[in-house]
């Protein structure tokens, strides 16, 4: 038995919003792999819950008419990994979420929950930052769409207004067309572990595959929330692909990161990882994009 005050199950998005308005103290539960664990730990003990787990309308990946990839917020990690649209256009996201927890966790955990809990280590978040994802939120005043960068406010806090729920994550066509990316999770174990640091890179090369037209890099656990490294991106853009450029690019990430010491790892180790992971993830992204490193 869970120490819960009451449970309200929503049958539709509209009903979920109504329930959240009627019960302003209630917390949202999607897959529950964070909420129920925290309830067991006592952190959320005695809470009222609004369950949105039954909202099948928020499951699945679709390609919209303008080429936007729409990922319903309740889509599980394992379904994202197996999805043909994800595999075709943004395979790195499927690979990244395939590193969350273990198999059973990937069947219950949702991409919406992974982003709404606001933690920096979320395996989906750095890749979503690196692909300029848009977060769709639905509330009493209708639907609003904001960039994932603006969605994260501070550690554990996201821009979810009262009675609002996250309904989708969108990747616009201009964000993914022509890009190839790679994610590296550094953790102590291969399964059931949280990233010490995670790094997601993607790149668009020129037609002759010689020049980096655009490079994007984002980190988890290099600051209080997932973050991009704009100085490195600026440094890499427009450069001819070479070992030196990749080396300089990876060193430049430190200009933006705010790694800190925690019981998992020291600041120095995280900074070392940040540079090394940037180098490896960019090298792999260039290979995936068909480039050769001179």
């Amino acid at each position: 038995m869970y120490d819960m005050k009451a449970l309200y199950e929503a049958g539709s998005v509209a009903e979920a919003i109504e329930l959240l308005q009627e019960h302003p103290q209630a917390q949202i539960i999607a897959g529950g792999s964070d909420v129920l664990v925290q309830m067991r730990e006592g952190k959320r003990a005695g809470a009222e819950l609004v369950s949105i787990y039954g909202l099948d309308e928020l499951r699945g990946v679709t390609l919209e008419a303008d080429g936007t990839i729409r990922i319903g917020s309740l889509t599980s990690f394992s379904h994202i990994t197996k999805d043909p649209i994800i595999q075709k256009y943004i395979n790195v996201l499927g690979e990244a979420v395939d590193m969350v927890g273990g198999p059973q966790i990937r069947n219950i955990g949702t991409i919406g929950g992974n982003t709404c809990n606001g933690v920096t280590s979320a395996d989906s978040a750095s890749t979503l930052f690196a692909w300029d994802a848009i977060v769709e939120l639905t509330g009493p005043d209708g639907v609003r769409r904001i960039s994932i960068k603006d969605f994260y406010i501070k550690a554990g806090v996201v821009d979810l207004k009262p009675a609002e729920i996250q309904t989708a994550i969108l990747i616009p066509k201009k964000s993914y067309e022509g890009y190839q990316g790679h994610y590296i999770k550094y953790a102590m174990r291969n399964a059931m572990d949280i990233a010490t640091t995670g790094c997601s890179v993607n790149v668009r090369l020129s037609d002759d595959k010689k020049i980096i037209e655009d490079v994007r890099i984002a980190y988890g656990v290099a600051g209080p929330i997932p973050m991009r490294a704009p100085a490195a991106e600026k440094m890499g853009n427009g450069k001819v692909v070479s070992r030196e450029v990749i080396e300089d690019f990876s060193k430049a990430v430190l200009e933006d990161l705010h790694a800190r010491t925690s019981w998992r790892a020291t600041k120095e180790f995280r900074e070392h990882l940040a540079v090394e992971l940037a180098k490896r993830a960019l090298t792999e992204s260039v290979h995936l994009a068909g480039g050769e490193i001179a």
Binding site: M1, Y2, D3, M4, K5, A6, L7, E9, I29, G32, S33, L36, V37, R40, E41, S51, Y53, G54, S78, G101, G102, P103, Q104, I105, N107, I108, N190, A191, M192
Partner: protein, 166 residues
């Protein structure tokens, strides 16, 4: 606050079942207490050890972090469904016995249900893939190699592929 109940109807091991469930219950609570399916173990109860693993609509879930009310309309399978009409062991259970993949047995039902999902995929996985697929379970008697071998042997057998041990 008065106790809140909900009628939950679902298919458990091939039989449609219906019952009033306390909304605070986990699926582990419901399967063990209401349906006496004690193969579903209470281990960590926070989704880390896999002892409570069951198959819901073809996919494995840790039933300890799955609300019982979410079972409405679902098809749930536990280890008990694997036995033959006279209590005969299934091939995967027999393989666990043959390969000494069991010591205390507490993790076995969870492991075996994950093995069932693996075997039903009908694919020939590599050792690395099998390790990853089995990684959501803890065995504190450290029987992982034997468990891997039991699953691998059954996988080869079901696919009719010959396996020679290195």
């Amino acid at each position: 606050m008065s106790v809140q109940y909900k009628l939950v109807t679902c298919t458990i091991n091939g039989v449609e079942r219906s019952g009033m469930v306390d909304v605070r219950a986990s699926l582990t609570d419901m399967l063990r207490n209401d349906y006496r399916l004690t193969s579903v173990k209470k281990g960590c109860e926070v989704g880390e050890c896999g002892a409570c693993n069951v198959i819901i609509d073809g996919e494995c879930f840790n039933s300890c972090i799955y609300l019982a009310v979410w079972a409405e309309g679902k098809n749930i399978r536990t280890l008990e469904s694997l036995l033959g009409p006279n209590g005969e062991l299934s091939d995967i259970q027999q393989a666990f016995v043959d390969e000494t993949a069991i010591q205390c047995g507490f993790c076995s039902p969870g492991f075996i249900m994950t093995a069932v999902e693996i075997l039903e995929a009908g694919k020939l996985y590599t050792d690395d893939e099998l390790r990853k697929l089995l990684s959501g379970h803890l065995c504190r008697c450290t029987g992982y190699e034997n468990i891997l071998r039991a699953v691998k042997k059954t996988m080869y057998k079901r696919l009719g592929v010959e396996w020679t041990e290195e």
